[in-house]
């Protein structure tokens, strides 16, 4: 969807400053990220300065200013996962996908990120791929899971 077609997405929300975060969430949901001109569109809709939109969007970790891969791989860095060896899972994914944390593969298939806590601590360590959680992982398991996908 192009930025200039955001009308229907925005119209679900009241034209007030307090709608700002919900507006940004809806725009990101439909475009996958927040391109610069979308911030201006949101600013006009919420009736706030563009600087405030950028201020809010850059404050929260959920918002992205760059496109992401079709599969968003998020490694949980919660406490239970940390104790269970989350850093080895992250490093294995960096090697298998060939990208460092925070980057997207050139073919736009995978993005690799970390998340504060998925809340699946009883089955740590875990990751989520497009919000679907896989648990009780080992570097070996993630290598297998993504090696096949990379071929």
């Amino acid at each position: 969807m192009a930025t200039n077609n955001l009308g229907p997405v925005l119209s679900a929300f009241e034209r007030r400053p307090e709608s700002l975060i919900s507006l940004l969430q809806a725009v990101q949901e439909s475009l996958g990220y927040l391109p610069p001109d979308a911030l201006g569109t949101v600013a006009r809709h919420a009736r706030v300065p563009r600087s405030r939109v950028y201020g809010v969007a850059s404050f929260y970790s959920q918002f992205r200013f760059n496109p992401v891969g079709r599969q968003r791989v998020a490694v949980c860095r919660g406490t239970a996962c940390h104790v269970g060896g989350a850093r080895f899972i992250l490093e294995q994914l960096e090697r298998t996908l060939g990208i460092p944390e925070g980057q997207t593969t050139e073919d736009m298939e995978y993005s690799l990120e970390t998340v504060a806590c998925i809340g699946c601590c009883g089955l740590a360590p875990c990751i989520s791929v497009n919000d679907e959680v896989s648990a009780k992982l080992t570097p070996k398991k993630v290598r297998k899971q993504f090696k096949q996908a990379r071929k």
Binding site: I21, V56, C117, G119, L123
Partner: protein, 621 residues
Amino acid sequence: MTAGFEQLRQAAEEQWDRLTASDTPVITVGTATCGRSAGALDTLDVLRGELAGRDLEVRFVEVGCLGPCYAEPLVTVSLPGAATVCFASVDLKGARKIAAYVAGGELPEDLALATTGPDSIPGIPDLMDTPVMKGQVRRVLRNCGVVDPGDIGHSLARGAYSGLQRAIELEGDARIAELERSGLRGRGGAGFPVSRKWNFCIDAPGDTRYVICNADEGDPGAFMNRSLLEGDPHAVLEGMIIAGLTIGAAEGFIYCRAEYPLALERLAVAIEQAEQAGFLGPDALGPGRPFRIKVKEGAGAFVCGEETALIASLEGRRGMPRPRPPFPAVSGLWGCPTVINNVETLASVALIFQHGADWYAEYGTARSKGTKTFALVGNVKRPGLVEVPLGTTLREMIFDIGGGISSGHQFKAVQTGGPSGGCLPEDKLDIPVDYESLQEAGTIMGSGGIVVMDERTCMVDFARYFLDFAADESCGECGPCRLGTRQLLRILEDITQGKGSASDMELLEGLSHNVMRGSLCGLGQTAPNPVLTTLRYFRDEYVAHIESRTCPALACRDFIAFEIDEEMCNGCTACAVLCPVDGITGDRDHLHEINAAVCIKCGVCSDTCSFGAVETVSARP
């Protein structure tokens, strides 16, 4: 409303009785996030598929999380005329066995965890007699894993909204008196008496008031609120409506973190059903007295768990805290008096009004009443969500309910209260878990995360992990937190990388106290706790890193090396093939060797070796 409620409740009870005494098989599957991550949806698919072809009517019910995460996916089967059996760790093969049982085959006893109904089966314990459940008192969690969170009828049949009916019948002052008598204190971390908070709000001048449910469960390692929202959302809604009734609010907001998509989904369904039933809407609190609830999704900021930051975020701003007073009870959302309580607190409010304050206060200690849910995770045998009376000891929780430390390892430390809490050693395990005792020991109750560690966790690295989190999540508003957490992190990084110096421990202590004193909100005021408690109870580990340049846990990379054991290595080449830096040499069927000069200490060799031949050894940086 009251006559109407009675009708609704009766209809729901009849529906529930038909389900529990059904003449067709009923299969319940726990499909909350933890169940799903263990494969519950695939298990459910196989069960449905296997039973679809047969001439057999089967009812499937999806429920929330029963608690024992280690045993997910959990499936409960109730056959007419037979005891109800709860099966654990039901993978696809297990699902086929269970399907065969439902179709008239034999009971797969190897999968049975317990029976859950009044009938028993020799050799299989009742659920509440199993070691994991025995020490627990399930009150807040009574419906989780039992009712379908998508069907308000199930909750109604089990008492939901009867507390609201009672609260409506009570006079205004009697409601606060009831809460006060229950002794309920906030379950989000600070433990402030709920009745006092509500009273402040009632006494504050203003025409418009708000209720906010803080569902921004940000502590890494904690998932009590997620389970409650996914498994029994109506308990939380009922608590909010009672709060609205008591303080005179017509609107409530649930601020729920975006990382919990299923909780958000279940909340939306529950609110819609509560509206249809009239518990929310224009006459929710009596004729002409409206109450509505809206859900707002968080956008990923730990600091928004702090009440003033949360309110800023609800107002569409950067989630940054402001100095208190004024407290939100006096000036909260849009400057109006606002009651803001955590998910578990509000669910407990519903319980108190359903069963009475005396019933609620039966459990607990003199100053910490009732039960509390905890996420018991880390290196324990049976991680999961537990609920115990306050005053239960950490030892009982970790060793009786949690089954002790994962096999072959020893207990080292337990961390309570998330990034705001601290680590306790073995000799503190017998302190009762209540607000004051934990505080005396240097940690806090927090929202209920309990992370257990064995000897493989380095305590200096663990403190570094939490400061990394705090520095990352510091909102930047005040200097002591923004700069102080970063500086603490740098010192801890130096120590874990072999660059620590003799004065570091003193520096950490001094800086910690300054950050605590100078910070604006709870994040900075408590962020140094993991540093101070590890310095207090595990000082020898700091000394080892700084003076003898060793990491006793063999966890910090700069202090370790990998070596291949001559006798164990059979030359299978698995490690050499996977080594990302081609740092392992050796011919097939011959001893392999690691080239220390190129080794990046990723641990792949040790993880890969099926023969336990790769050892981690101490090495000076």
